[in-house]
Amino acid sequence: MKFMLMMHAPKAGWTDAGIGSWPMDDIKAHIGFMKQFSQDLSASGVLVGAEGLAGPEEARVVRAQGNGSPAVTDGPFAEAKEFLAGYWIVDVESPEQAYEIAGRASAAPGKGGVPLNMPIEVRQVMSAPPVEA
């Protein structure tokens, strides 16, 4: 079964208190962790795909208005407190295995090497209907 693991980052203070404000060695440790994490998933054969998303500054929300010219506004949604920073799709045997992987991602090191414990949303990816017996 496939799961999408979505990494959310807090929107408030992203520019001022985000990763750019950490000491350099902490950033290096964080980047190193993320690289190693992806390599491990890949090596264990569970990684289907993963992408990091560019910063929210450039994000736009598009909504059709029924008149042929959709409205384009700055995104993410104004009311959202977090934004999607990236995702992994893993193919695993059980939901528990997906939770375990998400838990490792959540504990990525942050400022001062302290685990970020950021929220990772785990969602099952829809698949074909089960084969009839």
């Binding site: 990763i19 902490d26 950033i27 500054e57």
Partner: protein, 429 residues
């Protein structure tokens, strides 16, 4: 780029691919079908040669197999038309139909003599065709890599990090476009030639850049794009040794590629030119690139690729970053700027200006670029501004611009690099 590491004739096969395709297109005129047939022949070679050994005449072998595939397809097509014809004839008062032309199909049933088909190198003709201005850049790139480079759709898709079906669609649309635009299988006439050669070189440049600039994602496969671009440009240079811009582009690629081992750190992080370990630079590539561009420049009026190669050579020849001949580089950017109105050149010109006349002079040039909508708001403008502000000693503003640039770039290594630049200044504050 194939998975079969054990196949020892990869280079030979890829060199022969465009020659074989040229021969088949000459015979049948149907580029799209011929291209498919040649791909099948290449696959057949990777399966059969390791078992049977290299044929005496590999090119003839490939042409022979491709022609047979063509004739199989034609036979299937003929059968289909026959069935339609029979169905139609059962309808009372059948409309007049021209019977399918048997001649075109029967002629290829006999054993073809590859020798008479293989006399000409059509690599250049194919390149002009695949890089036709009627195609968009992504289409031209994909088609060039397949038809001229002999790569499979799977390999190209992997290199560009898109699903195989997407790449297959792109290639098929490109072929369709060539068909509907009536692009002929011949070299453009002299009037068109220079402009069309420019399009060919641009596509090769884009392939190189994709392979060189991206250290993210599947690093290894994308690195192969740079190798492939150099291989194809080398082939064009061998066919057109007197074209100074071809030599210039090849030199530019070699002089840039020479720095690849020094360009990223152990974590894949980007290392800027002035901080690179120059002992890791490839001296052989630098020597060949420098000789190429010197010879090309000595022939007279220099084009943009030669000028960029000359700038790359000046960087490569400096024993340390401090020894870089910035006044000479600035002069070359001045010539480039007058030649083409290009905001990226203007950006580099601002950096060179800062190196020669100080950061304030560079920043002034950047202000002018804010009004250029082609680059205003682009992360590179913010990154360079951050760099020059750092040189000026304005750390707070520099950090701000680095972070803005980091937020805008879509490249992970570049984002990491810019974030670290900001952090380093922040640490020192």
């Amino acid at each position: 780029m194939t998975d079969s590491v054990a196949f020892p004739w990869e280079d030979l096969l890829r060199d022969l691919a465009p020659q074989v395709l040229g021969a088949v297109v000459r015979r049948y005129g149907d580029f799209a079908a011929a291209e498919d047939a040649v791909q099948e022949a290449l696959v057949a070679a990777t399966l059969q040669w390791p078992k049977d050994g290299l044929p005496d005449n590999p090119r003839g072998w490939l042409i022979h197999v491709a022609l047979r595939r063509m004739s199989d397809h034609h036979r299937a097509e003929l059968a289909r038309k026959r069935r339609e014809f029979i169905v139609v004839s059962m309808v009372p008062e059948p409309p007049r139909l021209d019977p399918p032309s048997l001649g075109a199909f029967t002629s290829c049933d006999g054993e073809a003599s590859p020798a008479d088909l293989a006399s000409q190198d059509d690599t250049l003709v194919l390149l002009f065709m695949c890089c036709h201005p009627a195609l968009t850049s992504p289409s031209a790139i994909a088609l060039t890599l397949r038809a001229v480079g002999g790569l499979t759709t799977t390999e190209i898709a992997r290199a560009y990090l898109v699903p195989e079906a997407t790449m297959a669609q792109r290639i098929s649309r490109a072929k369709q476009k060539i068909k509907t635009s009536g692009v002929p299988f011949e070299l453009p006439d002299t009037a068109e030639r220079n402009q069309r050669l420019g399009a060919v070189l641009h596509v090769l440049y884009l392939i190189f850049n994709e392979g060189y600039a991206s250290s993210g994602g599947a690093t290894l496969q994308r690195r192969d794009l740079a190798v492939e671009a150099i291989r194809l440009t080398r082939a064009v240079h061998a066919l057109l040794p007197n074209e100074a811009e071809v030599a210039g582009l090849l030199a530019l690629m070699l002089l840039t590629d020479a720095r690849r081992h020094a360009r990223t750190g152990p974590q894949g992080e980007l290392i800027p030119l002035d901080e690179q370990d120059r002992s890791l630079w490839n001296r052989d590539e630098i020597a060949v690139g420098t000789a190429l561009v010197s010879a090309a420049l000595s022939r007279g009026a220099a084009g943009p690729y030669q000028l960029q190669a000359a700038i790359a050579a000046l960087h490569d020849e400096a024993p340390t970053a401090a020894d870089t001949d910035w006044p000479q580089i600035l002069a070359l950017y001045g010539v480039l700027k007058r030649m083409a109105d290009n905001p990226v050149v203007a950006l580099n010109d601002a950096i060179a200006t800062a190196m020669v006349h100080g950061p304030s002079a560079g920043l002034e040039l950047l202000n002018a670029l804010d009004a250029d909508e082609r680059i205003a708001g682009h992360y590179r403008l913010d990154a360079v501004r951050g760099h020059l502000l750092e040189k000026l000693g304005d750390r707070t503003s520099a950090v701000r611009h680095y972070l803005v640039a980091a937020g805008k770039t879509a490249s992970v290594p570049e984002r990491d690099y810019l974030t670290l630049k900001a952090a380093r200044l922040g640490d020192a504050r």
